[in-house]
Symmetry: C2
Subunit: 193 residues, 2 copies
Amino acid sequence: MRRIVDAAVDLAEKGGFEAVRLRDVAEQSDVALGTLYKYFRSKEDILLFALNEEIERLEHAMAARPVAAGSAYERISDFFRRGTRALARRPQFARAMIRSMTAGDADTALKIAALQLRIARLVTAALRGTAPEITAPLDTSIGTEREQAIAFTIMQVWFSSLVGWAAGLHAERVVSDQVRTAAGLILHRPDTK
Amino acid sequence: MRRIVDAAVDLAEKGGFEAVRLRDVAEQSDVALGTLYKYFRSKEDILLFALNEEIERLEHAMAARPVAAGSAYERISDFFRRGTRALARRPQFARAMIRSMTAGDADTALKIAALQLRIARLVTAALRGTAPEITAPLDTSIGTEREQAIAFTIMQVWFSSLVGWAAGLHAERVVSDQVRTAAGLILHRPDTK
DNA sequence: CCGGGAAATGAAACTTGTTCTAATCTGCTT
DNA sequence: AAGCAGATTAGAACAAGTTTCATTTCCCGG
C-alpha cells in the first residue's frame, strides 16, 4: 500500500495525472490491479491519499516554523506563498493532485472536505499569528467567526487560482499574487498594488 | 452542430456529466462519431460550448434587468444569487458544465479564460451599479483596478463554491452564502451574519 | 448531366479506468 | 501434517473517450 502510493507519486511527478496509469502503478509497485482496487476506490483516491500526506507535511512545517512576522496581511501572504511554493516545486505532481480534487464524485468530496478543514486550521493560525495545534481533533474550532470566514474565503481564492495554474493558465507567481490581492482587499492593506 | 449541442445538453440535464456518452450524443443528434469529433475536440469541449451559450443568456438577462438596487454589497450579492439560481435550476446540467471547466487541459483552459473575462465584466458592472456593455469587445476594461480586483476575487470564491456544490458537498444556498460572506468581508458590510 | 473533392458515415480499433473470475498462495488452527 | 479462510495474482472482460479508415453521400462548377 505504501508501495502503491509511492509508485503513483513517482509517476505523477514525471508526467502528471495522465501519466498515472493504474496498470503502470500496479506493475511498479509489484501488486496486481485487483489488490490496488482493494485499497483504493479509484485513481483519484490514490492521489488524494498522497495529497493528504502532503498536507501533513505542510502542517509539520508550519508547526515547526510558524509565520510570525508582521501584520495579519503579511502572515497570510507568507503562508500561502509557502504553500504555493511547496506545490510548485513538483509541478506535475501538484497538477495531478489538484486534478484529483476536482473529480467531483460524492465519494471523494467528503475526503476533500476533511482536507479543507485541516488547511483552514493552518490558515486561521497564520491569520492569528499563532502556531497551529496540529494534534487537536479536527472539529476543534479556533478563531472568531470572522476569522474563520476570512480564512475560508482566502482558501477559496487559493483553490481557484491553483486550478487555473494547474490548467496552465498562469504561473506560480500569479497564484501568490491573486491570493495576496484577496488578502489585501479583506485585510485592508493600503497598497493592493 | 446545433443538434450535437442540443443532444448533449439534453443528456446532461437528465444525468449529468457521465450521462453524456458521446455515442449517445452522436446517435441522438443523427451524426456519426467522426463528425462529432470534427466539430468538437472532446466531450468537455461540447459542454463548454453550452456553457458559453448560458453565459450569453446571463449577459442578456443582466443587460435587460441590471441589478441596480442598494449598496455595492447588495448588488454583488444579488448578482451572484441570480447566477447561482440560474445554474441550480438545472442542477445536473450545471454540474456537467462545472465538471468540464475543471478538466485541466491547456486546450480548454484558454476558452475558460475567455469565459472568465465575460463574467468579470458582468460582475464589475454589478459592482458599479451600471448595465454591462455586452456588445463591447472583450478586452475593453471597465472599472478601476481595485474594482477589477474585487470582481475577480469574488468570482474566484464563487467558482470554488460551485465546484463544492457540483461535487455534492453543499446546497445551492451555501454557494450564495459563501459569496455573500466574501462580498461582506471585502465591501465592509457590518453584519457578516 | 458529369466528375471531383469535401464532408459525413459506419464500423472497427485503441486506450485506460474499472470490474470480474478462477487459480494460487499464505498463515493459522486443529 | 491437513485443511481452511482470506488475501493476492494473472489475466480476461467491460465501458466509454478517442482515433482511424475505407466507403458513401452531397454539392457544385463546367
